[in-house]
């Protein structure tokens, strides 16, 4: 008699997915040990499939649609749906203000204007440090999906931070075709939030 059939193959055989189904079938007829395990696996499958199908509560679809309509209402803005985005905007403003102050101080100290690349590099480092902090915070709280959304926005911010035309990219984003392309990669809702973030830059009097 051939050696026993592995559990993996017996399980796949239950689903009609095993290689050499004929060989397994033949083995099962000759090997009481494998036949017993296979029969018990069949029972397990039968058990699971015999479980009564639960019915969904009568109001479920109505509740879902109510939530969808509520979310779709313009009065419920991004700042309520994504409170973290508000915090993110505030952090961006603080970050820009800090960087602006640093840039002004550096300007006064050195009496030489800093290049766009230098500013971009500083901003890049600060945003990266901020990202690490946000990642730690969101992973701790178990909001990985929110973090991934956030990461998508910040990825764009980083792309912009690395842009030598930083100031123009941030302040005149509507006229910058590459920024439009970036915004187009986001879904409508995310794009709205992103535009809000950019508007925050405008209000933050970004003056490197």
């Amino acid at each position: 008699m051939s050696k026993h059939v592995s559990l993996k193959e017996l399980s796949a055989h239950l689903d009609g997915q095993a290689r050499g189904a004929g060989r397994i079938q033949q083995h099962l007829q000759q090997c009481p040990e494998c036949a017993r395990v296979y029969s018990e696996l069949e029972n397990v499958q039968g058990f699971l499939r015999k479980t009564p199908q639960e019915e969904v509560g009568p109001g479920f679809a109505a509740r879902v649609m109510c939530a969808v309509r509520e979310e779709a209402q313009p009065s419920k803005g991004w700042e309520r749906r994504y409170p973290w985005a508000l915090a993110a905007s505030a952090a961006v403003v603080a970050l820009c203000a800090g960087l602006a102050m640093f840039a002004m101080w550096a300007f006064e100290e050195a009496h030489t204007p800093r290049t766009d690349q230098e500013i971009a590099s500083d901003l890049d480092s600060l945003v990266l440090a901020w990202l690490d902090e946000m990642e730690e915070m969101h992973m701790e709280e178990g909001h990985q999906d929110q973090f991934l959304d956030e990461l998508a926005y910040l990825d764009i911010l980083l792309t912009m931070a690395a842009d030598p035309e930083l100031e123009e990219a941030m302040l005149v984003y509507e006229d910058e075709p590459h920024v439009d392309e970036l915004v187009e990669t986001l879904d409508e809702e995310s794009a709205d939030i992103f535009v809000e973030l950019l508007a925050t830059y405008d209000q933050g009097a970004w003056t490197p």
Binding site: L7, K8, A12, E54, A61, D145
Partner: protein, 187 residues
């Protein structure tokens, strides 16, 4: 509208037709709630997670590709939400598992006995599933309770079909051991 395909409904919903989205909700509410319910062990949690999943789906309809299987996309959302829920430890505990004692006491007459047996099976399955890791539980639920093929399961859980095959084998073996310990396979 009931006769439209998933993709046709997605297209209409993307264009702002909320009634088309409602048809999708009605079409998929049972399998999604059932999946979440078996994963969390709580009917109440399951409906909350399923609701969040449909709302998330509504906001990300543009990501559904014409050639992709709609149910795979929807179940991926529901699966991720469920795992987050389990990781956050927010579960309200098992509220639907009927105790074996209760089912036996409730049996009276032929239909009562039949119903008690059904409840008994459900209680055994719930207890055995609860003891599996989420990795094994999800493939078992998607395969045995949702009837999905290996490729669809692999797409939902983000692994190769070969991994699904291995996880199914391990999950089934653990279930077999648990059910044998409970004496359930003699029923």
């Amino acid at each position: 509208m009931q006769n439209l395909s998933d993709w046709e409904l997605v297209t209409q919903a993307r264009g702002g037709d909320i009634a088309a989205f409602e048809v999708l909700v009605q079409r998929y509410q049972e399998p999604v709630v059932r999946f979440c319910s078996r994963m969390t062990g709580s009917r109440e949690d399951a409906e909350d997670i399923a609701q969040e999943s449909f709302v998330r789906l509504y906001h990300t309809l543009h990501r559904v590709k014409p050639k992709a299987k709609f149910s795979t996309y929807l179940f991926t959302i529901a699966r991720n939400r469920t795992l987050n829920h389990l990781r956050d430890g927010k579960s309200r505990g098992h509220d639907k598992a009927v105790s074996l004692e209760e089912t036996r006491l409730g049996a009276g007459g032929p239909s009562g006995a039949q119903s008690a047996r059904r409840n008994e099976i459900t209680a055994f399955v719930d207890r055995a599933l609860e003891r599996l890791s989420p990795d094994h539980r999800e493939v078992i639920v998607l395969r045995e309770l949702q009837g999905m093929d290996y490729e669809s399961i692999a797409a939902i859980v983000g692994c190769r079909p070969g991994t699904v095959k291995s996880r199914l084998a391990r999950g089934r073996e653990q279930l077999r051991q648990h059910l044998l310990e409970m004496g359930a396979l003699d029923l």
